[in-house]
């Protein structure tokens, strides 16, 4: 009888297509929007992931990674004095303006790495060598800088020159890193040179990056550093989540994406639930005939559930397939943001399962109340 159920479903082509279409659209909307949302949240944590230090020390009032609250230089020595610190290095992060050779401007995110160790260096160099940062006026730019400058008609390559706050910056390498939330290009240089590029300020140290001694966990070391007044130390994971959660709490992004996801669920329930109800309703006379011929409720329930879950399975597969296709396309272009952790397919599957169960339940209630004697009327 299960085969009969599937044949009844497949051969009612209009409703079958509508059911599949509704569930595909619902899966696509939920999968794509939640993946873009997660991608956007990943962008907010780009700095944390690009630098990758185990323990981050910042001003006690700084709430997340992209909030620059400068520290005094002396804080570096205070952190180094904490027992359990293997090493501690400075990091400068600031938004500056680059002036291009044609006179136009481009906002950049200037990263000043520890001059001696280059701690926080870009993981993937596509051109040049990190060591060349020691050359005069040297900077390394990321792929976003190359693209943004290209749009302005300037081809960035090794040897290209631009100005940061009236000081010459010479490109010695091109790297590929996670792009920032606001889309500003990352420009890497040494900490000392960053002090020259940056506008003059009393405090210019943004973070102190710390490595615990072997055997000491980052959490334990953070707790020790947190005893220093005016400083706050967090682990990489903590800073990642604090940053993402800060954006969730303090921006309209989750409401915007959440609304679309909820709309997807409503459309799914509305279109698929209603279509499935119509499908069952149109077949009620025949289901009553089955009942009269001796089909028991478990048999009919199995038929209806199979039909509902089959369309759910196909719709989910198509929807997530389209989401993955969208994802692979945008990942190549690196925008819009897209990140699909395993929780998203599971979440979408759970919602589709709910929609199918809900749709089937409506049909089953109708069938359970159906008197087989109606076939004689």
């Amino acid at each position: 009888m299960l085969r009969i159920a599937l044949k009844m479903l497949f051969r009612d082509r209009a409703k079958y297509a509508m059911l599949i279409g509704g569930l595909t659209f619902c899966s696509l909307l939920m999968g794509q929007q939640t993946s873009v949302f997660c991608g956007l949240m990943m962008w907010t944590t780009a700095l944390v992931r690009n630098i990758g230090a185990q323990v981050w020390v910042m001003d006690a009032k700084a709430e997340q990674a992209n909030e620059v609250v400068a520290l005094r230089q002396i804080e570096l020595d205070r952190v180094r004095s904490v027992p359990g610190v293997a090493w501690a290095v400075p990091l400068y992060v600031g938004i500056e303006q680059a002036r291009l050779s044609d006179g136009s401007f481009q906002n950049i995110q200037l990263i000043g790495l520890d001059t001696g160790t280059f701690t926080g260096r870009p993981m993937r160099m596509t051109e040049g060598r990190i060591e060349d940062l020691r050359l005069p006026s040297a900077v390394i730019v990321d792929q976003v800088a190359v693209a943004k400058f290209h749009k302005k008609g300037i081809t960035l390559k090794i040897g290209s020159v631009f100005e940061v706050n009236d000081k010459e910056a010479r490109v010695v390498g091109i790297c590929h890193v996670a792009r920032s939330f606001l889309g500003q290009p990352y420009v890497y240089t040494t900490f000392d040179r960053a002090m020259e590029f940056a506008r003059p300020q009393r405090k210019l140290l943004t973070f102190v990056l710390v490595e615990p001694l072997p055997g000491l966990s980052p959490e334990e070391l953070s707790a020790r550093i947190n005893k220093l007044p005016g400083l706050r130390a967090v682990t990489l994971d903590q800073l990642f989540w604090e940053t993402a959660i800060w954006y969730i709490k303090n921006t309209g992004i989750p409401i915007s994406f959440g609304t679309v996801v909820i709309l997807g669920i409503i459309v799914g329930i509305g279109v698929s639930g209603q279509t499935f109800y119509l499908f069952v309703h149109d077949n009620l006379r025949y289901l009553a005939a089955f009942k009269a011929m001796g089909a028991r409720m478990p048999t009919l329930a199995a038929m209806v559930l199979l039909q509902a879950f089959f369309v759910g399975f196909v719709g989910y597969g198509l929807g997530m397939g389209l989401t993955a296709w969208f994802g692979s396309a945008v990942l190549r272009a690196e925008q819009p943001p897209f990140f699909m952790p395993w929780q998203i397919p599971v979440f979408v599957a759970a919602v589709i399962l709910f929609i199918c169960t809900f749709s089937a339940a409506i049909g089953l209630i109708k069938i359970a109340r159906l008197e087989p004697a109606v076939v004689f009327r």
Binding site: K7, A289, M293, V375
Partner: protein, 235 residues
């Protein structure tokens, strides 16, 4: 010899309170093995209700119904459903063929409900369809068949699992005279066996003469049982 079906003083009402109406007011009759029994009467006299309570698709308020020695009032809904599945074949007024299933798939449904495998059920159904002259139409959908052909599929479906009781509700009302005649002849030829019983509910006087006996109903009562259908003329 024991009757195949015994209906004693069966009462069936619909609604409650002032809206309560009596569909059957103490109907009684017996159907014998090997006979084609017709239940006739004007519209609204309770024929279809009587058919529904005999096959257990509708509960009755009082009285007693025995089908092949099984007392329906003593059986649970599940037991009645299983009994119906195995022992009763149905031919409906509107055929009730599933429009999205082919003739052979429609005819195989009772076999599938009785636990047969798809391949075996369709093989049996195809052979039966061939016997009723639809060998070339087994993969046709109901909307590709004429009314008479659809009724032949319905007959095949009713007989596919070899039931002991075949119940027909107005089997000729949707057919023209010639097709209706052929349908009855086919039904008599294929359905009637010494251990089987066929009950037809109808008000089509053109087919009365095919019956072995006629149960005449009016206003929820059985008002007469006619042993000589050829001389029966309903008012």
């Amino acid at each position: 010899m024991k009757p195949a079906i015994r209906v004693e003083n069966v009462v069936k009402t619909f609604g409650v309170g002032e809206a309560r109406s009596f569909a059957l007011k103490g109907a009684s009759f017996e159907a014998r093995f090997g006979e084609l029994l017709m239940i006739v009467g004007p519209s609204g006299c309770g024929k279809t209700t009587l058919l529904s309570v005999v096959c257990g698709t509708l509960n009755f308020d009082s009285g007693r119904i025995e089908v092949f020695d099984h007392d329906l009032s003593a059986m649970s809904t599940g037991e009645i459903t299983r009994f119906r599945c195995k022992n009763i074949g149905f031919i409906f007024q509107q055929f009730n063929l599933i429009p999205t299933l082919t003739a052979v798939e429609n005819a195989s449904v009772p076999l599938l409900l009785n636990g047969h495998g798809t391949r075996g059920a369709e093989k049996t159904a195809a052979a039966l369809l061939d016997q009723v002259g639809l060998g070339g139409k087994i993969h046709s959908y109901p909307n590709q068949l004429s009314g008479g052909q659809q009724q032949r599929v319905a007959i095949t479906r009713a007989l596919a699992h070899d039931p002991r009781l075949v119940l027909c509700d107005e089997p000729t009302s949707s057919l023209d005279a010639a097709t209706g005649k052929k349908t009855l002849e086919l039904l008599k030829e294929r359905a009637l066996e010494p251990d089987r019983c066929v009950i037809i509910v109808t008000h089509d006087s053109r087919i009365y003469h095919y019956a072995d006996r006629i149960v005449e109903m009016e206003d929820g009562h059985v008002i007469g049982i006619h042993e000589d259908p050829k001389n029966f003329h309903h008012a």
